[in-house]
């Protein structure tokens, strides 16, 4: 196989699939890992030291809600002791000031707080629970701690018009970085796609606002924007390329090249309880499957952009054209681009009034594991 294996930069640790929120765009798979199958504290400790040995620099604690793990403080210490930079990606609950203080004392480097909108109503609608006020409280507590703070706003048709208010929340906080990430359509988001996709007008509005904000806040706050790739001309370099930079360990210990990889038929995933992380990264069938260029079809195979986007997203190719090795159909060069355009056609004529009314779409809410 014509593929040299690089060193992974980050380990995405899905500590649990349990979560107090039920967001309609959750990136977790539709089939969630049960609590009884979650890795123990010791098993995670072992994963962190193996990851550091392999050259991984950062650990991204996510879930589910990582704070749902009673041993979260121990896990932060363990990752930090292994030599990793520790990111916590959280909804901010369950958390109180004392627990926050313990997390920071344990060596937490970066606190990423997710927001479902700028107002409590939309946050409740999207997350199926009440959480907005708690997030604002957490943001206040964070002022007193030496930890990097990022606000993660997940944006879509129902909340994109609140962008200026979201910016105002970020600016009045202690955050030095804010991410506006459009929903990507996998997992639960795929099930809710038609109610989440923004209109072209909304997208243009958001680009204009964020460009101005980036200029105005340069040197004060890093503003990052993830566009909805259905509107893009070329696909994103999903995960920085399959098996190139990132690996994900799910609550049960299976190691995946990306969050959604389970949707791809025929892939089997190995578990940290049975095999060394290095071996899984370097030689497991799942990681080798789409590494390098051998697997590529035309138009990717001979495309000049193949080292920029690595053919885009394998899961999106599977979901939209039922072939995980196809060119990502969001690419304008893909023979299947029409599959995406058909979906975009569904949101062309939505009047602004219909976006902003209080009529709730028929959401499919994320369930909780047993």
């Amino acid at each position: 196989m014509n593929s040299t294996v690089s060193t992974p930069l980050a380990l995405i640790a899905e500590l649990t699939h349990r979560c107090p929120l039920h967001c309609v765009y959750c990136s977790n798979p539709l089939e969630l890992n049960a609590r009884t199958n979650e890795l123990s504290t010791e098993a995670w400790r072992n994963v962190f030291s193996q990851a550091a040995e392999l050259g991984v620099l950062q650990a991204d604690f996510t879930g589910g809600e990582p704070l749902a793990r009673p041993d979260i403080v121990e896990l932060v210490s363990a990752a930090r002791a292994a030599g990793l930079y520790v990111n916590l990606i959280t909804s901010g609950l369950p958390l109180d000031e004392a627990r926050l203080e313990k997390l920071v004392a344990a060596g937490l480097d970066h606190f990423q707080l997710s927001f479902q909108g700028a107002r409590p109503e939309i946050a409740s609608e999207i997350s199926g629970t009440t959480s907005h006020a708690q997030k604002l409280r957490v943001l206040e507590w964070l002022r007193g701690h030496r930890v990097a703070v990022t606000l993660n706003f997940v944006i879509h048709r129902r909340n994109m018009d609140q962008l200026p208010e979201m910016l105002a929340i970020a600016e009045s906080s202690c955050a030095t970085r804010v991410e506006f990430a459009n929903v990507q359509y996998y997992g639960w988001a795929f099930a809710n796609r038609e109610n989440l996709l923004p209109t072209r007008e909304q997208l243009d509005f958001s680009l204009e606002i964020l460009k101005k904000a980036q200029e105005r806040l340069r040197g004060k706050m890093r503003i990052e924007y993830v566009v909805p790739d259905y509107y893009a001309k070329f696909p994103k370099a999903c995960m920085g390329g399959w098996g190139r930079k990132l690996m994900l360990v799910v609550p049960s210990g299976d190691v995946l090249p990306c969050h959604a990889a389970r949707v791809i038929p025929g892939l089997t995933f190995e578990n940290v309880k049975e095999r060394r992380l290095r071996e899984i990264w370097e030689s497991s069938a799942a990681f080798q499957k789409f590494r390098g260029e051998e697997w590529m079809q035309e138009p990717c195979r001979s495309c000049d952009r193949r080292e920029l986007d690595f053919g885009g997203c394998r899961c999106q190719a599977l979901l939209l054209v039922n072939d995980a090795a196809a060119t990502d159909p969001v690419c304008s060069l893909s023979p299947n681009r029409n599959k995406v355009d058909v979906v975009l056609g569904l949101v062309v004529d939505i009047p602004v009034a219909a976006i902003t009314t209080d009529v709730k779409p028929e959401w499919v809410y994320r369930q909780n594991p047993t």
Partner: protein
């Protein structure tokens, strides 16, 4: 922005060097890791809230005494400005306050 020569840069919260035993040396920060070579490592190691920008320049001009001093200065100012845009630095104002080095 051009950093004030009398200000004292220090790494912002959540930005730190990896352990000295680890190779390569990198500056770890939110969603990023900057690989540091000789001069960039020398600069970042001095962003401790005690060195002024002017002191960093003077010290590096001594270390890199074969380089044009003016070039060393402009490279350092450019690099500090880049780190500031990444929100990796805070600048503590003025010559007074803070310890001296």
């Amino acid at each position: 922005m051009t950093p004030d020569l009398n200000s004292r840069p220090r790494l912002a919260a959540g930005c730190r060097l990896n352990d000295a035993k680890q190779q390569p040396r990198v500056l770890l920060m939110p969603e990023k890791a900057l690989r540091l070579n000789g001069p960039s490592l020398e600069i970042v190691e001095r962003c401790d809230g005690r060195h002024t920008v002017r002191q960093i320049i003077t010290e590096l001009q001594k270390i890199y005494d074969k380089a044009e001093p003016q070039k060393v200065e402009s490279d350092i100012l450019g690099y500090l400005s880049l780190l500031n845009d990444q929100r990796a630095l805070d600048f503590v104002d003025g010559p007074a306050g803070g310890g001296s080095s």
